[in-house]
């Protein structure tokens, strides 16, 4: 099964290398990884989605915890959490197809962030399945030129932050 881990790390050079190096040499199955700054300037938060059974998942957490720059890991799969991913999708769009694309975008509550003579760029945030669904419709009806996705980020509900869990 999939686990979503919130990994709080020191905001120092080389930390991401340590983490990605560990993941590859221990042959862990990582589905996505997304990193960014947090409310504390010296802390970076990385959301990792890992695929595996309980034992494999425990190894990922234990091995990552051994890295000196990893401050805290919390498994957001076990708690109520909000999970989002951001995608930018460039679709083929002519004068004739634009209005249909706009309809689709509205239904998905996505937004159009760029329009050219032959293309439109759509921005959508949501969970993985929602993004997959939009991509499928756009690909089949209009054709996708390119996609970029951030990988999942996640935050627990309730007042307790990951660092205190």
């Amino acid at each position: 099964m999939k686990h979503t881990l919130a990994v709080l790390v020191e905001n120092k050079p080389g930390v991401l290398t340590h983490i990605s190096g560990l993941i590859s040499r221990r042959a862990f199955n990582i589905e996505s990884i997304a990193a960014g700054y947090t409310e504390e300037p010296d802390t970076t938060r990385i959301t990792i989605v890992v695929e595996g059974n309980e034992i494999e998942q425990e190894q990922v957490v234990n091995q990552l915890s051994k890295l000196v720059d990893v401050i805290k890991i919390s498994d957001l799969t076990a708690v109520e959490s909000i999970q989002r991913e951001l995608a930018l999708i460039k679709v083929k769009a002519s004068v004739h197809t634009r209005s249909d694309i706009i309809n689709i975008v509205e239904i998905f509550r996505a937004s159009i962030v760029d329009v050219g003579r032959e293309t439109m760029v759509i921005e959508l945030s949501g969970d993985e399945t929602k993004i997959d669904a939009l991509c499928q419709v756009l690909e089949e009806d209009h054709g996708i030129i390119e996609i970029v996705r951030t990988g999942k980020i996640a935050l627990s509900r309730g007042p307790i932050p990951a660092k205190d869990q």
Partner: protein
Amino acid sequence: MEITGAEAIIESLKNEDVDVVFGYPGGAVLTLYDALYKANFNHILTKHEQGAVHAADGYARATGKVGVVIATSGPGATNLVTGIATAYMDSIPLVAITGQVSVPLIGRDSFQEADIRGITTPITKHNYLVKKVEDLPGVIKEAFYIARTGRPGPVVIDIAKDVFAASLDYHYPKEVKLRGYRPVYAGDLGTIDKVFEELRLAKKPLLFVGGGVNLSDSSEELKSLIEQTGFPVISTLMGLGCIPFDHPQFLGMVGMHGTYAANMATTECDLMVGIGVRFDDRVTGLLDEFAAKAKIIHFDIDPAEINKNVLTHLRVVGDMKWSIPALYLRVQEVSSELKEHIVEWIEKVRVWQEEKSLRYELDTELVMPQAVVEKVSQLTQGDAVIVTDVGQHQMWVAQYYGFRNPRSLLTSGGLGTMGYGLPAALGAQAGLPNRTVILFVGDGGIMMNCQELAVAAEYNFPIKILIFNNQCLGMVAQWQRMFYGGRYSHTSLKGSTTDFVKLAEAMGVKGLRVSKPEELSRILEEALAIPGPVVVDIRIPEMLDVLPMVPAGARLDQMIIGGKEG
């Protein structure tokens, strides 16, 4: 006080009680070497950076202190890689200080530039690249703290050349603040209670000890626990010496070349208590069948070792100095009850012990390697610091030396590094100048790093180097004989033109040779009596196998025993 980065390193080493460093100078560390010179700091110059890092490792294993090695940037640093990986696999505390090109030159493929931080990331406990001189004291403090605490390991500090020359206001920090590194000392006492309950229930319990006991210097605590339980004990290669080999409860080494009793007890036990072990594949054999009838309890300082290879029933995470006495306190109350409970099991174990699986046939013409090891053990009363290289001789030493003391076997167990032995022996002798240090090495392994013989002579380290010369790469040849139809692809050294006695003499080391069994005692005694380093070239038979042996991937009780009653 205002000093340079290089001086700050020297001051910090003094603050960490470092009494010797091993190393090799070069362009990027010129300023650091200048400071070593001015401070008249104790430095041992090896002939190769690989020699320096293994020496620092041997020093650390023998003394329990952190080993320190210095190398220059680029090739100097990359020559450390094998030694760092060796230390990492066996959890040895090292600090490796490497020079890096100057900050403005980093990333431009400059002369002698290598990304040693990137290269060593998978084989270090932690590593640093220092680009600002004011970071130095804190980084060095952290590096020593990380290297020696928790599960020990090597730490690399890569320092840009201009940092050595820059000046700073030096204060050595009193403490380390690391949000992400808080090694556990004491664990959960509730689990100790649960372990205790399992010990009382067990009918066929077995204690399984490893390198963690040696590394944490808790063999005294372990002995007390062992005696209170009455349980039989087996050991890994790295655990040898933490319980005396002739202790009545000790069944010997387990695994691929383990004893019959140890491997049978593992297969049949109903409770296995692993203490400071990591269930390596050379120990477990076929993993699914390893101790398959047993509940497994795992004591370790590293939570990531739990459930890594073998699924455990109970885990006790914490320092052995805490966990072993904690269990001892519980066991003490019911010592006689535990012993009564396992009478039948002990009888069964005794029968396995009767099967003397460590046996060999003496020969009138040929010098048997096992006999050499036994002779050395006898001459040194099992009290020497023994260093090995890797291969057949390593296993014969493990089987026949009869270790009595912790930290008395220095061997590359995890990585299995040929060429480790000679420099490690130098480092051990540097750390323990008054102990007898004996190196067992093959005729293959001695040629990897034989340049360090000159260091033994130059510093007059009185190590005794016993070369088991079978004119082949014995362990590989054994596998070729057993599993590759006797096709000895590139394992014969018969064409070798090297005369080890002359090689030793050329480097300033006394050289002796043993070719016949009747010479063995006399020459070994002569070698031990010489106050300086000695090489003894011992001609042993070519076609010997290390036995018993569990073929890779077989069950532990499917061992080949062989040999004849000795």
